[in-house]
């Protein structure tokens, strides 16, 4: 059907301009990270590296143990994602397929935690992690994040799309919950698990607020914390190095996104709130 009376060209322009504004910073950072400092500093308008150089990356690699910092980031993101997916899957299964006392209250209680401001929990959690001897350790960053209300929410939404009759038939066939979980539910919600997992990984990779409280020594830092050392409101003199660090910090999330874009967007379009 033709809907040409709604003029679409001006809106295409609005969308294109918005996208340029959103994407420009990324292009800017990539371009600047390959420029020599004087070249970049004197002309910030031209972000194309005319005399490309790797010196900014090399400076970063010289100043910190980048491999260690990257592996810290990777370990935290992987362990957090792994456990969040498992704990969320088990909890979501209970909320969707099992009947128990206090089900709705408990679900509401868990979900409402999404809205608890970070400042409410920061002091006690900091003290607990210190008491456990885990301050300045990546395990101190990991421990409080092994479960997540968002994961329960997303996987519950996905499991709710499984017809209840399917589960009932399996129950009549005397299939135990372990089998139902493994052979019926798991394969059906696999796409949701994949996208939730990738999303958790990206979030954890980017996380700043909690690690900055726990991690003190540069060797234990994650990439966002290392990057933060290159910022001041005046900008500082390490402009191009900062851009190189920014590129290194965003490369993994960007690659994951470009690879799994459909999955990730799908999570929020199919299992969002209806």
């Amino acid at each position: 059907m033709k809907t040409s009376r709604f003029k679409s060209i001006p809106w295409h322009i609005v969308f294109m301009v918005t996208i340029v504004i959103l994407i420009f910073p990324i292009i800017f950072a990539i371009g600047m990270s390959f420029k020599p400092l004087e070249d970049a500093y004197n002309n910030t308008i031209n972000f194309l590296p005319i005399h490309p150089t790797l010196e900014n990356y090399l400076t970063f690699f010289d100043s910190m143990d980048v491999l260690k910092i990257t592996s810290n980031t990777f370990i935290i993101a992987s362990v957090v994602t792994f456990f969040k997916v498992i704990t969320s899957f088990l909890a979501a299964y209970a909320f969707v397929f099992l009947e128990f006392k206090g089900k709705n209250t408990l679900y509401f209680l868990l979900i409402s935690m999404i809205f608890i401001p970070f400042s409410i929990t920061m002091i006690p959690n900091y003290l607990v992690i210190s008491d456990l001897g885990l301050s300045d350790s990546i395990w101190g960053v990991i421990l409080p994040q092994l479960a997540d209300a968002v994961g329960i929410f997303l996987l519950r939404q996905s499991m709710k799309t499984i017809p209840t009759s399917l589960i009932e038939v399996a129950r009549l066939d005397n299939l135990g919950h372990a089998r139902i979980m493994k052979d019926i539910v798991l394969p059906l919600v696999k796409p949701a698990i994949t996208s939730t997992g990738i999303w958790f990984f990206i979030l954890s990779w980017n996380e700043y607020v909690w690690p900055v409280l726990i991690l003190k020594t540069v060797d234990n830092y994650t990439l966002p914390l290392a990057l933060q050392m290159y910022i001041s409101s005046e900008g500082g003199t390490n402009f191009t190095v900062a851009m190189a660090v920014a590129v290194i910090t965003m490369i993994i999330p960007l690659t994951l996104y470009l690879m799994f874009q459909k999955y990730i967007i799908g999570t929020f379009t199919s299992s969002g709130i209806k």
């Binding site: 679409s8 809106w11 969308f15 918005t18 959103l22 420009f24 910073p25 990324i26 800017f28 950072a29 910030t44 308008i45 088990l90 209970a94 099992l98 009947e99 128990f100 868990l110 409402s112 935690m113 809205f115 608890i116 401001p117 970070f118 400042s119 409410i120 929990t121 920061m122 002091i123 006690p124 959690n125 900091y126 003290l127 607990v128 409080p144 092994l146 479960a147 709710k160 919950h177 980017n206 996380e207 700043y208 607020v209 409280l213 990057l227 933060q228 290159y230 910022i231 409101s233 900008g235 910090t249 960007l254 996104y257 990730i264 967007i265 929020f268 379009t269 969002g272 709130i273 209806k274």
Partner: protein, 302 residues
Amino acid sequence: MHAVKATNKRMSKEQWLAYGLLIPTLLIFALFMFWPFVYTIYLSFFDWNMVKPTKEFVGFQNYIDVLSDPNTYKVFGNTFLYIVLLLIINCSIPYVFAFILDLVLKRYKNFYKGAMFLPSVISLVVGSILFTWILNPVSGPVAIILDWFGVEMPIWSKMDGWVIVVLSLITSWKVFGYNFIVLYASINGISREIIEAAKLDRVPLWKIFFHIVLPMSGATGIYVLIITIVQGLQYVFTPIKVITQGGPNYASANAIYHAYHEAFVLYRTGHSAALSILTMAIFITLLILEFKFVERGVHYEN
């Protein structure tokens, strides 16, 4: 009778299984969410600095201190301003965009969705550092372009008001696409017949938006509204901490950053806890709203 008994037995077995499956989640939540919540309330009645071996009970003194400090009002005013700005940039605009993408635009839909969402996967620390340079008032590209038109870029990081606007824009850069996608999904889920009928009847676009789309995507709308308020409180922490540290003179601090500053820079846990509890009071009001509108309004297929 037998059947009922059998069901009861199965019910109880099922109950135990359910609690078993929930234990890992509940354990983590109890230790790092519920207990800290209670402990923060406790701390708000004590004078302490995180190192002293004893905490001194001071009753409501922390609340009195916090509420008689003019900076508190400045910070809560800032918090409110952040929230209002983010509601405009990250809730209203994405709503309109999602509506236009669904109803008006036919081509490049996937490209628009993919490109708009892209910044949402990038760390806000990266966003902060990129915009610090792009918006550098002297040598940044935006300042240079403005200069061509004879407009002088304000030294935003040192100016009241401007600093909040810029930090809100940086935060918006990251969350705009996420909110856009969530809202698009909801609008896209509205029954086509109603919208097509309205189109055939030549109902103007703005009327379709306000009379059909807005009410029918209302649950998601409120969800995004609340998420935006959470972001207004929570997400702006990163650019504040990284770029301005709350300065100049508390002009960019919000409630969460202020609580952090009191606890981890000034070591006044009592003040910090009292501030957090006050912030929480605002939040509980929002949670009640969420429960009233979102959960009740949500219509599940099953």
